[in-house]
Symmetry: C2
Subunit: 663 residues, 2 copies
């Protein structure tokens, strides 16, 4: 209370997180030093596109997953599944992945180096545009002194381009995802795009399938692939899931798991990798009713949208509107798609993504995956530009239909109609005995002809029969004369009480590694007084460690208190770590600022004597003091998001100890 | 309180879980019907050894993992990692897996069918022993009427064997894991063991490597394997992990993730699969000090042990003793190994494994994996016999040493010694100028010879130099005469303050699918009054759903209460599901008994009028009643294990409603 009564301004107002410009080199160094993640098999020289997560990276990922499970699976009673990664080839032949899950690659005609075709065009044209800007005197100096980065960046002389060429390049870049392979090949020729590493020409674009292949069993007879998405595992189990859900629609299945894509030349850290953890939802919905029961709960969520028409016009103008407005105007196709777009937004913001750097971009027609009819990507802005982190696709009935057709196992919903659909219909009725006796082996043919007739043909036939006889012709021209003794046609009322249909699928699909990396970028800053002191302002909900317990030293007299505080925090469900290493408290806090630990408690001689403890907040470095149990109660509420730091300051007075331990 | 004051006996005493013998066919049918798991790609005909988990199986697995994380990672501050599955070939060449991670297979000489050699011997000999028992009139009738199973089981006529042959077969079976491939081939010849499906002979055993192979990148130049264990991912990151732990030992890394083994002929459901989730711990320890700080906490845990000497004598006699005793007697090699064996025991019992059906079996010498020096398996008894579910191996310094040697990257600990080790040593000191001038290009050779001398040689040389000159001979026999002007040798005191060593690794490794399946067997029983009414008595800590919310019907008037109760349970952290399907309350409870849901609450007209709710316990079908909020409070404490059902009964009176809804 003291602080508030004193009129002290909470020091959070004094934190300046933008005192230093964002520095990717510093962030990368921090993530490597603190082992958030590192190249896999580093001591073997590493392999592009494979990364291992260390303790803070693993915890951050586990916390993001736990929050995802809560936000989606538990909140909406989704049916979780866990299906295999290894998949026999026929599944991906049916799904279209064997034929179409591929990227265009080009080979350097001299070295044979392989490059992804669209990335090559992007890198070269962007470099030329940058060179043009520099020549026109518009370019800023390179923001960092990262030597490695400079080496890898495409070097292009500062050459001015004509306004026309600039416009053409910009137009190409705005719809790069819209070009086919041969079109990219033409672009390379027309604009003399070469391998920037060697300045050699590149050959014609070729398709490269992105699935890792293997073979199942000892005889090598069963080719298999590592799944490139978890989705097929959901679809193949659709009938079981529907039954589990008591036959009712809509419902959703959800899965968190590894997927694999054999990327052509992965380079961008966690943003483009060959093995990654996904979280996917397949929401099954009646194609004739894509409303969503809970749409009203998200109707007012405001989104930044970039629709396909804007992009196809070569622009990238963002429109801000509520999801309700977007659905009403038909920009987002239906409520269910809109509902998930909004829920994705809410999830990303909750875990710490900056909403100012989050937009939803609609796929252009040629860009769409082969199974999708509409798709909105959640793109998060970071130092490499806008990156797709979540896809939200309407896969329509594509997957269920192709698997159904291939296997003969119907993946459909049978819905009992509340009101049966009543129709009137002409129905042929046979005297089978007479039919057989009269026509022998032709009886079946005749039956088939009549029963495949349209309504108007049946009416005509009925008229003829009323006259005493009728002639029925086979497709080969053979004619049969039939009489009312053999066939009568009557108008009947048909009641249809079951409707059978293939559901449509709305699929929100999350790339967790990309989200994790962009979150780290959005969370990173350096203290105003010292650029070397990096901080990751991760929200408590995802921070790897919630509370750091810091005894003044590793001396035995602090042990009982350290154990008491740790065990009380554990019982309260708060994950803490002890740092009793042999270094100053300030250094220990600085190290944990880099790990994103939001709170710290210090145990010193006063703690032993008076059972008090200080509480430090990471971003402000503000310190409060109180009785040990009260501090534990306050920090627990902070971690679970029940109170803000300002409210905590009203419960714990400022710490004005002589030993300022920090900053 | 009423119940207790009335002197009512808690009805749990009346539950008879063994009224019907265990029936695997019924359990399998239940697991399939309720979609705990099912063969993957079932609609494509399935692939042996690949299974998908449905909603209850996924939840059960997720809950087991959550408890594992709490019991091991959080409780002991382990460092979690998440490393890649795809692994470049050189890693497994170094680790020995390319050469030695293989099983012996035999081919049917006529059909080419492939069988795992040791399994073939086991199946045939066990069938013969069963036939012998039957012939002697000792055999029980087959316990089930499972036609499929009968078809697959090895058919053997009821032929009596001599006592000698019986003893020989039993001896072979007791140490089957101890035979090499060629030895198994001899067994097949000697005992005329043939493919039971065809009665054809089988060829010589051949090694089949169990790793799935693939290739990384577009050029196919980088062969890779899917990891068969997560362990290598830990070891390759050892230096980073050690640094993260401030350079201190002991510590442990932990990882939960998928691994793959291309089993030769997987048949036993979840017990032998080609893709599975593991949880592995690598605990790094000083090879000279394998004590464990917390050993005293587990010293009195009583274990069933089957050591290697007993097995090598062809026996399987279990010894019961505390882990303290086992370590004291040297049966378990050291405290750290013993500590983890006990912690594994405590974990398995906590999640519901029957301790009477849990034993620890030590590996025999020939059976051990190529990297292990000692290994104890936690084996869980189930309908197929004893199954290895957790391995606890001492991998010694094997892995860190081989990777270190291969890569040149030292995977070692550098420990600052509290007391430096002081030694005296003869140290050669050169006058480099004179040495060079005198011997020119031979100078280096001479230096090398002298500096590689043992202590006694140096003393001898020193004596010669004291006489004025000495002769040094190269390995090729060339001699050099050196003088005290060139070389002096002095006795010096050397202080060593850093000790460098390669840690040993103790590895508890959990196969989660096997644990999950045996847990389901241990939990399954049928109600005494009706064998068709199966129950899974899963402990609340792992049960997929903790509380079932059952409104009397789907009528709208119950909606507000259903929502209120669901949301209050969610806020209390209790996972519940609503079943408002159109069937009787009794049937809904029966369905959820099959899903292992421990508690149910019913909302009826009394709930609407009086805000009361009944609470039902799964195993006893006992029902209590109380105000809604009190029932929520009680069930929350039940779910978190804070109170027993008997204690709950003291807080909520028995329900004697006219509408008995159950049993």
């Amino acid at each position: 209370m003291a602080a508030v009564q004193d009129g002290t301004v909470p020091s959070s107002t004094t934190v300046n997180k933008t005192a230093h410009p964002f520095d990717k080199v510093r962030l990368d160094a921090l993530l490597n030093r603190r082992f958030f993640y590192a190249p896999a098999f580093e001591i073997y020289g590493g392999v592009a596109g494979l990364y291992d997560y260390g303790p803070p990276g693993s915890s951050l990922q586990a916390n993001i997953i736990a929050e995802w499970r809560k936000h989606f699976i538990i909140e909406e009673n989704m049916l979780e599944v866990d299906t295999t990664i290894m998949t026999p080839a026929p599944v991906f032949e049916t799904s279209g992945h064997v034929a179409r899950f591929a990227d265009w690659m080009v080979k350097d005609v001299k070295t044979g180096d392989v490059l992804r075709a669209d990335h090559l065009v992007k890198n070269v044209l962007e470099a030329r545009l940058a060179g043009d800007k520099e020549a026109r005197g518009l370019a800023a100096a390179p923001p960092t002194d990262d030597k490695k980065k400079k080496k890898k960046a495409v070097k292009t002389a500062a050459v001015a381009l004509s306004d026309e060429v600039v416009a053409e390049y910009e137009n190409i870049l705005a719809q790069l995802d819209n070009y086919s392979g041969p079109e990219i090949g033409q672009l390379c020729k027309k604009h003399n795009i070469r391998n920037p590493d060697t300045d050699n020409e590149v050959g014609e674009p070729q398709l490269f399938n992105l699935m890792f292949a293997s073979s199942i069993g000892p005889t090598g007879q069963h080719p298999g692939f590592l799944r490139p998405e978890t989705a097929q595992g959901h679809f193949l189990n659709f009938s079981r899931l529907l039954e589990f859900n008591n036959g009712r629609l809509p419902f959703a299945s959800a899965q968190i798991g590894r997927s694999f894509r054999n990327e052509i030349s992965p380079r961008a850290g966690l943003l483009r990798v060959r093995e990654f953890t996904m979280a996917e939802i397949e929401h099954y919905v009646d194609p004739e009713d894509k409303r969503h029961e809970r749409f009203n709960e998200v109707r007012d969520v405001k989104l930044s949208l970039l629709d396909r028409h804007v992009q196809e016009a070569g622009k990238s103008t963002i429109t801000e509107m509520t999801v309700g407005e977007a659905v009403d105007k038909g920009i987002i196709a239906n409520e269910t798609l809109g509902y998930f777009v909004a829920r994705i937004y809410l999830f990303l913001v909750k875990i710490g993504i900056n909403p100012q750097r989050l937009r939803f971009r609609q796929h252009m027609a040629n860009e769409m995956a082969h199974y999708a009819t509409d798709c909105w990507d959640a793109e998060i802005h970071n130092s490499t530009g806008w990156t797709e982190c979540v896809g939200c696709a309407d896969r329509a009935a594509y997957d269920l239909t192709v698997h159904s057709n291939k296997t003969g196992h119907p993946l459909v919903v049978r819905q009992a109609l509340k009101e049966p659909i009543v129709t009137e219909k002409e129905v042929p009725e046979w005297n089978k005995k007479t039919l057989g006796k009269t026509f022998k082996q032709d009886a079946g043919v005749i039956q088939k002809i009549v029963e495949s007739m349209e309504e108007d043909q049946l009416v005509k036939l009925k008229g003829q029969l009323a006259q005493g006889k009728a002639v029925v012709a086979s497709p080969e021209g053979k004619e049969f004369e039939i009489t009312p003794e053999i066939l009568t046609i009557e108008r009947k009322t048909i009641k249809q009480s079951i409707r059978e249909y293939t559901p449509n699928v709305i699929e929100p699909s999350f790339g967790l590694g990309r989200i994790l990396y962009t979150l780290l970028e959005h969370s990173f800053w350096s203290r105003e007084q010292d650029v070397e002191r990096g901080v990751l302002s991760l929200p408590p909900v995802v921070a790897p460690t919630k509370v750091l317990v810091v005894p003044l030293s590793a001396r035995e007299e602090f042990d009982p208190l350290v154990k008491e505080v740790s065990s009380k925090l554990r019982r309260a469900g708060v994950f803490s770590r002890v740092d009793d290493s042999n270094t100053s408290i300030g250094k220990r806090y600085a190290r944990n600022d880099e790990l994103g630990t939001p709170f710290g408690v210090t145990l010193d001689f006063a703690s032993v004597q008076n059972r008090t403890m200080t509480l430090r907040e990471r971003d402000t470095t503000d310190q409060r003091i109180g009785p040990i149990d009260e501090v534990i109660a306050v920090v627990t509420e902070l971690v679970f998001g029940n109170i803000t730091w300002e409210e905590a300051c009203q419960r714990l007075p400022a710490y004005d100890g002589v030993q300022a331990v920090d900053s």
